[in-house]
């Protein structure tokens, strides 16, 4: 049998694809920033917080890491409204992505914090820095530098996972592909194009983050 592929039919809808890419990038950017901040806060809580706080954060991390993202998303979007919290698809997607990334980032950042040499903290304390200053200025930057590659990989995993958000009609890239294939019945081609775009996105995001991190987060090369 002959298989004919028609990519032009898909590419003709390029404004839709572009909008999908923009949404995917936007979702990823927002949840990366908030998720990493959440991860830093939880990592601090897990290594310096009160015992009940450690337990709480530990439960959060394990619960998220041992359940699928799609279930977390459905819980936020379909489950929370029956508890009185109504969310737009876009907001539900961001919340699910932040909560998901936060849990993984907590573990990654904690691994960086835990290897800070004791002497560095003592030296900083002896310079009369308070606990907060020690954490933010002495412990955190080198920890972030050490775990940045792992953190970047996790952000990319969350970006790829965001393809599921199309299922609750968030207008991201996979949603755009779905919309296009429902118009022209070129399902295989539409998803190939979307998959190629995701591949390009993950390469680009890795480059950008590897460039951004050293410049703005932990200084120096």
């Amino acid at each position: 049998m002959r298989v004919t592929l028609d990519f032009l039919a898909v590419l003709a809808d390029w404004p839709l694809l572009l909008k999908g890419v923009a949404w995917t990038v936007a979702l990823t950017a927002v949840s990366a920033v908030i998720g990493v901040v959440l991860g830093v806060a939880c990592a601090w809580a897990r290594s310096h917080g009160a015992p009940w706080l450690k337990l709480l954060v530990g439960a959060y991390v394990e619960l998220i890491r041992n359940t699928p993202f799609i279930v977390q998303l459905f819980f936020v979007f379909f489950g929370l409204p029956s508890a009185g919290i109504r969310l737009s698809p876009e907001l539900a997607s961001v919340i699910a992505m932040v909560v998901n990334l936060g849990a993984y980032a907590t573990e990654i950042i904690r691994a960086g914090i835990d290897v800070t040499p004791r002497g560095q903290i003592e030296a900083a304390l002896s310079l009369a820095l308070n606990r907060r200053q020690v954490f933010l200025k002495v412990v955190l930057p080198p920890a972030l530098r050490k775990v940045w590659p792992a953190l970047v990989s996790q952000i990319i995993i969350v970006m790829l996972g965001s393809a599921v958000c199309g299922q609750i009609s968030t207008p991201e890239l996979s949603y755009a592909a779905n919309l296009i294939q429902s118009r022209n019945f070129r399902a295989f081609e539409a998803f190939i194009v979307a998959t190629a775009l995701y591949l390009l996105l993950s390469l680009a995001v890795r480059r950008v983050l590897n460039w951004l991190g050293p410049r703005f987060l932990f200084g120096g090369r």
Binding site: M1, N66, P68, F75, G79, A177, F191
Partner: protein, 213 residues
């Protein structure tokens, strides 16, 4: 209208969870076999084979699993194979798993010191013998913990098969929600069931890791 008790919901979810387990096992075993072949191709082959396997891994790790599932589902239809959600899900998850396992195992083999290879070579062992008698036994020990840990990713990955219509735990949750209008309860149960499947495996992987360190 039929009333659903909590037990009805939980019982139906438990029944559906069987398919999550079966699909996970298929993907894990199939992915292990394909992953092992990829690893051997990468170790044995010259530059080209290694580069092809590298590209394969990069492709599966750089694109969403959901897209891979869609491509398997619609691709088979396009090429005239009768499409079932079952087969598409098993195929996509097997390929996805194989890419990750090949990469995990490559790291384990790479962590074996160069000197071990050279020592085996100096004993006039062939490449196959070096692998079989010297490198793989050591690499396997290192590989067990991350391999077990990756099983959790596979189990969570099967949840996406719900999107192409494969009725497993997540899809069952959606269907029961549509019947009961109790999404909060149903998805809480769904999440807890995944947690019950994955958390023991996570703990075991962590335990194995600690034992090795």
């Amino acid at each position: 209208m039929v009333e659903f008790s909590l037990w009805d919901i939980l019982r139906n979810l438990l029944l559906a969870a069987r398919w999550t387990v079966v699909l996970s096992l298929i993907a894990f075993v199939g992915g292990g076999v394909v992953g092992l072949m990829l690893l051997l191709a990468r170790l044995r082959g010259a530059g080209v084979a290694a580069r092809v396997v590298g590209a394969y891994v990069a492709l599966f790790q750089g694109t969403p699993l959901l897209m891979q599932l869609f491509l398997a589902y619609f691709g088979m239809a396009l090429f005239g194979v009768e499409t079932s959600a079952w087969f598409a899900a098993a195929l996509a998850l097997t390929l996805y798993t194989s890419a990750y396992l090949a990469e995990i195992w490559r790291g384990c083999v790479a962590s074996i010191p160069r000197g071990q290879w050279e020592a085996a070579q100096s004993l006039a062992m062939s490449l196959g013998e070096q692998l079989r008698h010297v490198v793989l036994p050591q690499a396997t020990r290192i590989a067990i913990a991350p391999t077990v840990g990756f099983l959790v990713q596979v189990i969570k990955g099967t949840a996406l098969a719900s999107v192409i219509g494969f009725v497993e735990l997540t899809k069952a949750g959606t269907m029961i929600t549509n019947a009961t209008f109790q999404p909060f309860v149903v998805y809480s149960f769904v999440a807890l069931l995944y947690f019950a499947l994955c958390f023991p495996i996570s703990l075991y992987a962590k335990h194995l890791e600690r034992k090795l360190a």
